[in-house]
């Protein structure tokens, strides 16, 4: 408590005043924690929305509704726009901001397709290609990737065709199925504890969606469709494909790497042959919604190891006045269970949400990725997340706390638990000025093995971040961000300062980016990297050093842009080292 109190005092003492300007391509992402990965599909969706559409229309609203981070209300509002029942998003601050960022000042053009070609120099050279073509009856999406040092040009590719016939929606090719709250089938990124996580956990899946991410083994490949059935809606898919991964100890490890360079990686490429069928039926009930999912899969690897699984779940939500309750309960033929449930209460500016979860050890369904803290599926967990938001005078306060514990797998084993707490204060002075600051405290016990005996450490880590943004005029903006992180055991703090500026002149724009960090121990610092449009990479600093980044963008016409990024990193304090230089080139075109 003493530590928390002292942190809060420091929090209050520091004020930061900044203007509402965007330094990355979408300001909405700036609010997210750079320590946690964002789904690439969100960036692709936003790029497509910007390139293919010129304003908020039913079509563009439908596309935006597939974003992973939206709240239930925001999805509902976009659904209303899509259905022609709502014409503007003035009551939804985040959607309004997104809409302005995407389409403000855009001319009406007849755009049928957009493409991105990106060349990214890392340890080698990585290539990525994105394409989206929009015809009257069809929508076609293309994605190709060649990672550094991979031998084949199209080492990975993904194609989908989406069409509608009468009341049926068909997606052929790579698709994902988002059902319930993620205990059976979800996107490749799960919801993690953070500000606003309750909204994400509460949001149920919307069935079949085209797969746009670069994850090489997550998509279903085959046919997915949606149709009315009875008094509800049926979403179903059948898929057969090869995925990277392994079958070990009677469970599936799907590889998240997607790299095929080493002999082992090449050998494990497409190691598992997978066949999956899944169906979801959901219907509206008075004041709510209920659904039922059933699916099965069979996996065989090159060693002829075999695994099969059946999984089903029931889910639903129920609304009473200002209270919304939700839950999903899943079981599998491996006799593994998982449950997630909770509720949310909202009254004017007051908001309280709570989410419980319990996931068995070795729980595996088909593409489950529900809200959880630890990624290792061999270990289950139980936990409770709470979030509170309210307004005190002109200050908006947001507090969240997640407490979790690993389930015991065998008697006498090391017990592991942890918590994560965050507080955010925000004050809006006028439409362009406000104050915001954030503090996070994370703690998760872990094993340490020594010469004498193993013991465990459980030291909370505090991260304090303050940002100052200044918009000189429409074409010139500046930002300074300070970050401090330390273990609460008296060890020294890591400090970081980031300076950014953005300058625009006619068709040119230039972004400058400088970071200086002083790192102590394992208190590594994370900052959003200098990104090209469609990227949202973060950069982790693990030792003292300095970092200079620069992006030059040139709009060659109303349909095309060229972006160039160069970054230089010195991994010593005194610059007495050869810097590591990286670069990227990106071409955005529309037809």
């Amino acid at each position: 408590m003493r530590i928390l109190a002292s942190s809060l005092i420091r929090l209050v003492l520091i004020t930061l005043i900044f203007h509402k300007v965007s330094f990355s391509q979408y300001e909405v992402f700036e609010a997210f924690d750079p320590e946690k990965t964002l789904p690439e599909s969100d960036l692709v969706i936003l790029n497509n929305a910007k390139a293919l559409h010129q304003s908020l229309t039913p079509e563009s609203a439908f596309l935006l509704s597939q974003l992973s981070f939206l709240s239930h209300e925001e999805v509902h509002a976009l659904g209303q726009v899509s259905a022609g029942e709502l014409n503007n998003l003035d009551h939804y601050q985040r959607l309004k901001m997104l809409s302005e960022e995407l389409w403000k000042g855009k001319n009406e053009l007849n755009i049928q397709g957009s493409f991105i070609h990106r060349i990214n120099r890392t340890e080698g050279v990585q290539y990525k290609w994105f394409g989206d073509l929009n015809f009257e009856q069809f929508r076609i999406g293309l994605f190709g990737e060649r990672d550094a040092e991979e031998i084949n040009i199209l080492d990975h590719y993904s194609v989908f065709l989406k069409t509608k016939y009468q009341d049926y929606d068909y997606t052929i090719g790579n698709f994902q199925m988002l059902v319930g709250h993620g205990l059976i089938s979800w996107r490749s990124m799960s919801v993690k504890s953070d500000f606003g996580s309750i909204n994400s956990a509460l949001r149920r899946g919307r069935g079949i969606q085209p797969f746009r991410s670069g994850h090489e083994s997550w998509a279903y490949r085959g046919l997915g469709w949606q149709q009315p059935m009875g008094r509800g809606q049926l979403s179903a898919g059948i898929s057969h494909r090869k995925i990277d991964g392994s079958i070990e100890n009677n469970h599936i490890n799907i590889s998240n790497v997607g790299l095929h360079v080493s002999d082992t990686q090449i050998k494990n490429r497409g190691n598992i042959s997978e066949t999956i069928g899944i169906a979801d039926w959901e219907t509206t009930i008075p004041n709510g919604l209920a659904g039922f999912v059933v699916g099965g899969g069979a996996w065989t690897d090159n060693n002829k190891d075999h695994f099969s699984n059946l999984a089903s779940s029931v889910y639903g939500n129920y609304k009473v006045s200002n209270l919304t309750l939700f839950s999903e309960l899943a079981v599998t033929s491996q006799n593994k269970n998982a449950i997630i449930g909770g509720g949310r209460m909202k009254h004017d500016s007051f908001y309280y949400g709570i989410v419980f979860r319990k996931i068995d050890n070795d729980y595996f369904a088909l593409r489950d990725n529900g809200f959880r803290n630890w990624n290792n599926k061999e270990f289950g967990e139980t936990g409770v997340l709470q979030e509170l938001r309210f307004q005190f005078d002109k200050i908006k306060v947001n507090v969240y706390s997640d407490m979790f514990r690993r389930l015991e797998k065998s008697k006498g084993e090391f017990k592991r638990n942890g918590h994560e707490t965050g507080i955010s204060l925000e004050q809006k002075f006028n439409p362009t000025l406000w104050i915001q600051t954030k503090l996070k405290i994370q703690e998760a016990s872990s094993e340490n093995y020594g010469y004498v005996d193993y013991n465990f450490s459980s030291v909370p880590v505090s991260t304090f971040k303050t940002t100052i943004k200044w918009k000189h005029d429409r074409n010139h903006s500046f930002q300074c961000q300070l970050q401090e992180k330390h273990n609460q055991n008296g060890s020294p703090s890591s400090w970081g300062v980031q300076l950014r500026s953005k300058h625009s002149l006619n068709h040119w724009s230039v972004k400058w980016y400088w970071v200086t960090v002083k790192i102590e121990g394992r208190s590594w610092l994370y900052y959003w990297d200098v990104n090209l449009p469609g990227e949202m990479k973060s950069k982790v600093f693990t030792r003292h050093g300095h970092y200079l980044g620069n992006v030059v963008s040139y709009q060659t016409s109303s349909r095309s842009e060229i972006h160039l990024r160069i970054s230089t990193a010195w991994q010593t304090w005194d610059f007495d080292v050869f810097p590591i230089v990286r670069g990227a080139l990106q071409i955005n075109i529309s037809i």
């Binding site: 060349i119 031998i151 084949n152 060229i562 080139l585 071409i587 075109i589 037809i591």
Partner: protein, 264 residues
Amino acid sequence: MVFFYPKQLYGAFESESLSPLQNAAGSIPFSIHPNSLGVLSDPTIISVNRSLFGAGSLNRKFGLKSLTESLFVVGGNFQDFGVGLGVSRFGNPNYQETLVSILGTKNYKELVQLGISLNMYQLRISNYGQAWAIGSRISIRYTMGAKVETMMSYLNANRPVIGQSKEKLPQVISAGILVRPNEKITGQASLVQDTEFPISVRFGMIYKLLDQMDIAIGKIQQPNIFTTGGCINWKNFRIEFSYLFYADLGFITYQTGINYTHIP
């Protein structure tokens, strides 16, 4: 002894089929109007070369007779499609690589030119026999504005292999930007990556000295080559020449060629 040079070496079909003017301007992997021979490496230009055209060139890599390369292409416009046929030969009587390309191009909205070539690779070694494989090239050229074009090309994305040993044929990703700040100057910057070699960065410029004469210079990094050359225009004909100096090797390659483009 070139063949024991410890750095980058050419393997089967690693030699790029570029026209003298492309080579002179930094071995730009994309065609430049009205340089007809460039369609072998980038067929998108056929949609611009709407009339009948033909071109050929000859060079000896590093000045060695055993590494003689000859290129020939003919094409034109048929309805809304550009079509062409190209042949290149490389080697000597003992070792010979032959590449036959069927080329096609489609223009879309005057913004995008999509070019596709179907390549038949034939490798012949005397007293050992011959082998062949089918490869492909997809080229895309996009008009980014009045002064800027961007190009992308993917060679052998279908992963062809040749011979009993299943030797992998080169897979190459190319990307480039062509800038024309005024009527006299054409500048290029391009990146060429054979997936088994480090990326090659190339810069070059063509300057129209007279109506009848262009000169060009360029620089390639990886391998380290300085390039220069030019072309002389006379009615429907263009005579091209290039000079490539391999700085690390100390060798020189000369290339000459002739273009004919029917101008109605």
